[in-house]
Amino acid sequence: MEYKDKFDKSFEFLDALEQKLAADYAEHGEERDHSLPLTVDSPETSAVPGIYTGNDAQMVQKLARGNYTVQIGISTIDELLDRDRQREKDGFPRKIRVGKLFKPGRGASDSVVIVPTTVEEKLIHDSVKDPSEDGEAGGYGEGQEGEVIGEQPVRPEKGEGTGSGEGQGGSHEMESSAYDLGRILTEKFELPNLKDRGTKRALSKYTYDITDKNRGFGQVLDKKATLRKVLETNIGLGRVPEPCSIDSTNLLVSPRDKVYRVLSREKDYESQAMVFFVRDYSGSMAGKCTELVVAQHVLIYSWLLYQYAKRVETRFIVHDTEAKEVPDFYTYYNSKVAGGTQVSAAYTLVNEIVEKENLAQDYNIFLFQGTDGDDWDTVGEKALPELKKILSYASRVGISIAEHSYSAGQKTEVQKYIEDSGMLDEYADLLRMDIFHENADESRLIEGIRKLLSQEVLH
């Protein structure tokens, strides 16, 4: 099966991915880039305009960005995705993809919006091109036949205003693999979207932005733009004889030259999520158990990369009797086992981080915990209150327990105290637990992910 191959390779590529990210990190400082291949083409970013790209409002009216507060009274992405699931049940292939539009900006100010995309398939001509060339376009102006008149980088450089182009976003191949794996997981197993209605926080929010420009009136004067206009006007009027020595007292200022920024309400459809991966690395976790819980976390991590790229942040915590945060997935699954087990230490650390960084206010928080179920705190005396605290802000907590062969048939400590606490019922929509044997195979793990993430309340 396709996903099985992907699964087998998942460790390899994550390994390479982390190394690459670490290298990127070393090279670019904070600019670790998780951008995914674009799924939506932007004609605006295409280098060569075609016959059908321009139109009257754009060409003739030059409509600038106006007060843009669209509250569309039509289907939301969620409704569209529901419809798509129904399609599959009706026996037709799914058609909607959740894509991203991505506009590179300076530094870390890239903007990403999440949009649905679909293709209306028709029987149309494909292009057959010469392999060494990539199509023809119209041209105008000087130049001999054969003369090169301009060039464009094959891979857009960072910060450059070019978008996807023709499938050229291949600079993050590692993540493409993770992306593929995530896509397969999403498609084949109907894993839910993080921004599901079941989650506590709505992932749509309003921002008030003063990006809109307007000439003549508005809230905030855009000084730079205004000065440009003033200068333009005065140059036009011939009042600036020497560009090097401008006498600002002599400039005429027309009311039309004043450029304002207008405050407008904009709705962002975004998913800002913080995911904690928590893993027990105590002595008893050696071997199979670690492999399994990490494997499951790899899959979840891949899926997150696919689904949320820039809108999700991940934190990695390992614990024995003490908990510590590690910087990346690589360290997360490579940390050597040692010591006894105190699950509450990890919970406490998560609570501390959330509180200290005030994460609950800004993020949807998810926590995935992997353990073999051992806990010195056998009744959850310390762990349960901390867990309860986590459930007060988290959107989902998923606990995976890999049972040892020798403890087969007996409930592990963690399983026992969680079940006894009644939290699984009380927080049925927030807390999920998946228990599997240490000999579980991949399909079992994926089945487990469904359980951990699904929207339906499971019993």
Binding site: V128, E136, G138
Partner: protein, 547 residues
């Protein structure tokens, strides 16, 4: 969305008078609306028709456009729609002088819509009104049939580019003859193709017919065919079969399915037919627009330039106009701008007409200086551009008027794009300055759906056989499955599509490009095509190589 105010309407009416005086012709009633960006975003997927039927793909488009707008603010919309009365849209913050220019632009579009022969099928009715009643019908059906309505819309839209637009158009021109006369069938088909009679016998029959015509002109056919019936008893049935096949063959795929699908014609499924018909009509309505983009925009730009500059009401805004107009009508260094190209071709044609260059006398000249100096001062420029505007489509427009003189005059060339592997950049270069190649490049960019028909001879056992008449371009392979799935659903039985693809033995290099490997490992540009047959049966696609 609201109507423009009285003051602006008055400006518009003033524009109409001046446009009318200049020779533009359009229905006097027009509607102008002020729209916001929100309206525009919601209208775009519906091709600016506010009354167009609702469909979930439109919702996807709106959400996508909204996202795109946030990142790349611009407004990709048309502003005037072809209906009666003509409706146009204006942004709420246009100054008056700009509206004057836009009004002229819009009026020229309306003139084009209402006079160009390729729009004949849109002249007889109010499309927005029709669309509104269609929208209501679909919405009613949706309340009864739920999501199945959307499946039918989807499947119908999957083949709405294969509508027989030209068949439809020729019907309007009165040129189409759905049925062939008995006489024509007898002489043109039966004797020559069915019976394959020798020439001498054929001529004898012609003479016999002429004799009958002389003897009894009022009942010539009865007399003549009485004899034919005796000689060829099968003649009548042959003729009837030929007529029915020919009629079916003239139908586009959608029509054929509508008329012949047993599934659709069952009582419980009949509601689907009305939806398919709506999708077909809508597609036919927009076909002329996409086939006349360069002409239409060129025509509108030509007139807004001419009429605006002669309009006394805009004094003082010449510079504003010049700036805006230059933005619209300037040629990009690389790329195609239909406004810029269209207006230049119309101006070129006008010059040809004025100097009498659109003539045999001019064509016969081979001396460059004589050609340059030629001026018969015929002053027929305006007349000629009106003729062109009324009668051509983009394809003909380009083929007829983009000649070497035009290409030279405007310094045009075909820009190629090649990969420089050492520097990993795409290089744009001047590929050719020859008119022939420039024309070919333009033609390549024009809308051109594949020519696919129902093969009547191969339809058997409820199988619908679609035949792709190959034009050296394969179909987009990844779409075939879903389209055939939709057709199978509508047809209610297996569907086959015969098309051409690059032979598997030719090595594929990169996306959409194929070259054949030669023995020495080098690649050449030859492609070997093969006919393949796709079959969609029980929602499963299979492929078979035919040759």
């Amino acid at each position: 969305m609201e109507l423009i105010n009285q003051k602006t309407k008055k400006i518009m009416e003033g524009c109409k008078e001046r446009a009318y005086d200049a020779g533009l012709r359009f229905g006097n009633e027009t509607l102008e609306y002020i729209v916001t960006n929100r309206d525009l975003i919601e209208l775009t997927p519906k091709l600016m028709i506010p009354t167009m039927y609702d469909y979930w793909v439109h919702d996807v488009e709106v959400l996508k456009e909204k996202g795109r707008y946030e990142l790349y603010p611009n407004n990709p919309y048309e502003t005037v729609i072809n209906t009666r009365p003509a409706i146009s849209f204006y942004n709420d913050n246009n100054p008056d002088w700009m509206n004057v220019m836009i009004f002229y632009h819009v009026l020229a579009h309306v003139d084009f819509f209402q006079n160009n022969q390729f729009f004949r099928n849109t002249w007889d009715y109010d499309f927005t009104g029709q669309a509104l009643s269609d929208k209501r019908m679909i919405s009613n059906l949706r309340s009864e049939k739920g999501r199945w309505v959307d499946y039918i819309i989807e499947f119908a839209r999957a083949i709405d580019n294969l509508v027989g637009y030209h068949n439809e158009l020729s019907r309007y021109d009165g040129m189409a003859q759905d049925s062939i006369t008995v006489l024509d069938y007898y002489f043109d088909v039966f004797l020559q193709k069915v019976k394959k009679v020798p020439l001498s016998e054929y001529i004898k029959e012609v003479e016999r017919y002429n004799k009958c015509l002389g003897d009894s002109p009022s009942v010539v056919e009865q007399v003549f065919f009485a004899d034919v019936q005796q000689r060829f008893p099968e003649f009548t049935s042959n003729y009837e079969r030929y007529v029915s096949v020919r009629k079916d063959g003239k139908q586009d795929i959608m029509q054929y399915i509508l008329n012949n699908s047993e599934s659709l014609n069952r009582g419980k499924n009949k509601w689907m037919k009305s939806i398919i018909e709506v999708v077909r009509k809508t597609s036919l309505f927009f076909q002329p627009q996409i086939r006349t983009k360069i002409m239409n925009e060129g025509w509108a730009s030509y007139w807004h330039e001419n009429l605006f500059l002669s309009d006394d009401r805009i004094k003082g805004h010449e510079v504003d106009f010049a700036k805006l107009h230059a933005g619209i009508a300037s040629m990009p260094r690389v790329g195609l701008n239909p406004y810029a190209l269209g207006i230049r071709i119309f101006q070129y044609i006008e010059e040809l007409g004025d100097k009498g260059k659109y003539s045999m006398a001019y064509d016969k000249l081979s001396n460059r200086k004589e050609r340059n100096d030629f001026d018969a001062s015929e002053g027929r420029g305006r007349e000629l551009i009106y003729d062109v505007c009324r009668n051509l489509s983009d394809s003909l427009f380009i083929d007829t008027f983009v000649d070497q003189e035009f290409v030279n005059k405007h310094n045009l060339f075909v820009a190629g794009k090649k990969l420089n592997q050492s520097r990993m950049v795409w290089e744009y270069y001047v590929k050719s300055r020859k008119a022939e190649q420039y024309r070919q490049m333009l033609q390549e960019q024009l809308y051109h759906p594949p020519y696919i028909t129902v093969d009547m001879d191969r339809n058997a056992n409820d199988v619908l056989y679609l035949y792709h008449h190959f034009e050296q371009k394969p179909l987009v392979n990844e779409y075939i499955s879903n389209v055939l799935l939709g057709i199978e659903f509508l047809w209610g039985g297996p569907v086959q599509l015969e098309t051409s693809e690059v032979d598997k033995n030719t090595k594929s290099v990169g996306f959409g490009r194929s070259v054949r490997r030669t023995d020495n490992g080098n690649s050449d540009k030859e492609r070997r095509w093969q006919r393949v047959l796709y079959t969609m049966k029980d929602r499963k696609l299979s492929r078979k190589v035919l040759t």
